[in-house]
């Protein structure tokens, strides 16, 4: 287990990182007023959030039932349902479905970060491209996402230009528009050639297996539509009891990011199909021929049973707690584990990487309660932080 001092050193180093600091300042300055404005203009979001929380209580309280139900209904709508307990099981499924020497396009998703899907597929000899602009920059930068929604806040436009040069971009550092144009053209070729598209899921409806995805760039539409095979990976906590609840979750998340309504809201139930010729239903028309949905446990079910960190599974990954946390505002996801950072991230680190990883991080929680105050799911993060602090101490003294 790392010591408090080692964590302090990382955090103090983050303070010296000028690009990170500038990026954090920009994202705080831009996002918070945007989110507050959105919530004020759409007061019904608060009611929806309550509804979502209740729906999640229902699912999390009966998780096995809902996993089974979701699997059955995915199959009913001609999708392929998978359940993976561990990372290795996910890899095994991916090896079967994707294989090697394929072109893979990816949508941004935290759970695929957690699983290191991109790294695994590359290792298997595939060509893999992140298609969210920010995530592509992170891929090229070989760093880690600094924010759940805007992963590349630590990458300046100068650095972006430099990274894109590696792909053939030759415009100036001020030409952000040109950079986007370049990426658009660059990825367009890959979208068309790609064999497999991989996405996460904002939520999954247990009644139909529908996968809900929210975005603004439009890349997810390509990822989930152009390749022959679409694989969606979702943590089991993303299951919602009904289609409308699943959509509500996506709406609440989008509003708490400040881009509301989101440019694109996709709900995908089964592979693309037609019955236009003599009512014979055939699959794979313009969209994918195969839709695979992997429901991933990764320790979550155990967490639900043990109770201590169960509250965190209500998380809809809006990143609001990060933006508003004084420590995250100073250190970004440097205050975090390998994937998740900030208030929610310390607890998610406990869930996905173990309490030993998370406990020393938790010491730096101010216990100021702001994360809980702004969280649309009213998750009691400070309380879980206290548990981690206690754990740190128990280990140190024993």
């Amino acid at each position: 287990m790392r010591s408090a001092r080692e964590v302090a050193e990382v955090l103090l180093k983050a303070l010296e990182d000028k690009d990170l600091q500038a990026g954090l300042d920009r994202s705080i300055l831009n996002s918070i007023p945007l989110i507050k404005g959105t919530l004020k203009r759409n007061p019904y979001i608060e009611d929806l959030a309550k509804r979502v929380k209740k729906a999640k209580d229902e699912v999390l309280g009966n998780i096995e039932y809902y996993i089974d139900k979701t699997m059955d209904n995915i199959r009913r709508f001609k999708g392929v349902a998978h359940f993976a307990k561990t990372r290795e099981e996910v890899y095994k499924i991916l090896d079967e479905v994707v294989g090697s020497e394929k072109m893979v396009v990816k949508a941004k998703s935290m759970v695929t970060e957690e699983l290191k899907v991109r790294e695994h597929l590359i290792e298997r000899g595939n060509e893999v491209w992140e298609t969210d602009l920010g995530e592509l920059l992170v891929q090229l930068d070989k760093s880690k996402p600094m924010h759940t929604i805007v992963p590349s806040i630590h990458i300046t436009k100068e650095r972006s230009a430099q990274l894109l040069r590696g792909l053939g971009f030759n415009g100036g550092v001020e030409e952000v528009r040109e950079m986007i144009e370049f990426v658009r053209r660059f990825l367009r070729e890959r979208f068309v050639k790609a064999h497999v598209g991989i996405s996460g899921a904002n939520s999954v409806d247990a009644n139909s297996g529908a996968v809900i995805l929210v975005e603004n760039e439009g890349n997810i539409r390509h990822v989930t539509n152009l390749p022959n095979i679409h694989v969606s990976i979702a943590g089991v906590e993303k299951i919602m009891p009904s289609y409308i609840d699943a959509i509500c979750q996506a709406m609440v998340q989008a509003a708490n990011i400040g881009t509301y309504p989101p440019t694109y809201l996709s709900a995908i139930t089964g592979p693309s199909s037609t019955a236009d010729i003599e009512f014979i239903r055939l699959y794979g028309v313009h969209g994918p021929k195969e839709l695979h949905i992997i429901l991933y446990d990764g320790g979550r079910i155990k967490v639900l049973k043990e109770g201590i960190f169960a509250d965190q599974l209500h998380c809809i990954r809006c990143g609001r707690c990060q933006l508003e946390c004084p420590i995250w505002q100073l250190a970004g996801n440097m205050w975090g584990g390998e994937v998740y950072g900030g208030p929610m991230g310390v607890i998610w680190t406990a869930i996905t990487e173990g309490v030993e990883k998370a406990a020393p991080l938790a010491l730096f929680c101010l216990n100021c309660g702001k994360c809980k105050e702004v969280c649309p799911m009213d998750i009691d993060i400070p309380n879980m932080m206290s548990e981690l602090k206690r754990y740190y101490h128990d280990i140190r003294t024993s």
Partner: protein, 308 residues
């Protein structure tokens, strides 16, 4: 180090008893009462905390120093402590004493009958809890509860957020229901009908996180200020959305704590030069970040000035 001090001296820092109690002698507050005003030593320690944290910040900058070990050794005894840590200025010490007196006088003014335990007053132990040392905290809390019982204390009037939170929430959580009632002086004042008159100046409110988000003492604070006829401004991060002063991590990383405070100061100064706080820890941290740039006042200082 702090932990060790709590074990030995029942306080996070080793200071002499007179530092803690002198304010009350001046007011001749009685000892044996069922209702006591509880300071937890926090206000009295502010100047010493400031010196200590400055000292720690100096150490933190240096590479290769085993911070905890080194200061642990250095600050273990009253004598060593006095040697290493710069003695706070008389003004700084007096200011904190005046704050305590102001609170006591305000309570007297509205006819609250109360005593004070003087050197017997125990520390609440809240720092132990904040650092994750729950077993130690529980043990400490038990001692406190026993002491209150032995001294016949039925009701505790708290004057700072941290002790309030400890007594109201943590003690029941760890020890079950306690035999004494806990009430914060802001609650008492807000319910009374005292009046005040003040110069025509306005203050920017900095709500303490604990009052705002854990104790829901938001409107009470404002009703006191209004009763005093004092004007105030609400910053963007106000009420439930208030912003932390950084204090809770000042012993872990003074530099990081100061950065948090600087962010808050950056916001507050956009609204005005005079800041109103209601917590000794907030006072110490914001002061450390703001220097002379802002004037920071404790609620009680304003009460003292305006009460008629």
């Amino acid at each position: 180090m702090f932990i060790d001090n709590i074990r030995r001296y029942r306080l996070p820092l080793p200071v002499e008893a007179s530092v803690l109690t002198s304010w009350a002698y001046d007011l001749e507050i009685p000892r044996d009462k069922e209702v006591v005003m509880y300071t937890g030593g926090l206000y009295q320690l502010v100047p010493y905390i400031q010196s200590t944290v400055n000292y720690l910040e100096g150490l933190e900058g240096r590479k290769g120093v085993g911070l905890a070990v080194k200061i642990g050794k250095a600050l273990r005894k009253v004598i060593d402590f006095a040697k290493v840590i710069a003695k706070p200025s008389r003004d700084a010490v007096k200011r904190q004493m005046d704050i305590l007196k102001a609170i006591a006088l305000a309570l007297r003014k509205i006819n609250v009958d109360f005593g004070y335990l003087y050197e017997e007053e125990p520390y609440s132990g809240v720092l132990l809890h904040d650092l994750g040392m729950e077993d130690e905290f529980k043990k400490h809390a038990k001692l406190v509860v026993d002491l209150f019982k032995e001294r016949g204390v039925k009701k505790v009037i708290t004057i700072d957020p941290h002790s309030t939170y400890a007594f109201k929430h943590l003690y029941p959580k760890f020890l079950g229901a306690t035999d004494f009632d806990v009430v914060n002086y802001i609650e008492i004042l807000a319910k009374s009908d005292f009046k005040g008159r003040c110069e025509d100046i306005s203050y920017v409110i900095h709500d303490p996180c604990i009052y705002a988000r854990y104790e829901n003492l938001i409107d009470e604070l404002r009703s006191i200020i209004e009763a005093l006829n004092v004007k105030y401004v609400e910053p963007e991060n106000s009420r439930e959305l208030t912003y932390c002063c950084g204090g809770p991590i000042e012993v872990l990383s003074p530099r990081l704590a100061k950065k948090v405070a600087e962010r808050r100061v950056e916001e507050l100064r956009r609204y005005g030069k005079r800041i109103l706080v209601a917590c000794p820890i907030c006072y110490a941290n914001l002061k450390r970040a703001a220097g002379e740039e802002l004037e920071i006042y404790d609620l009680s200082e304003i009460i003292a000035r305006c009460l008629i």
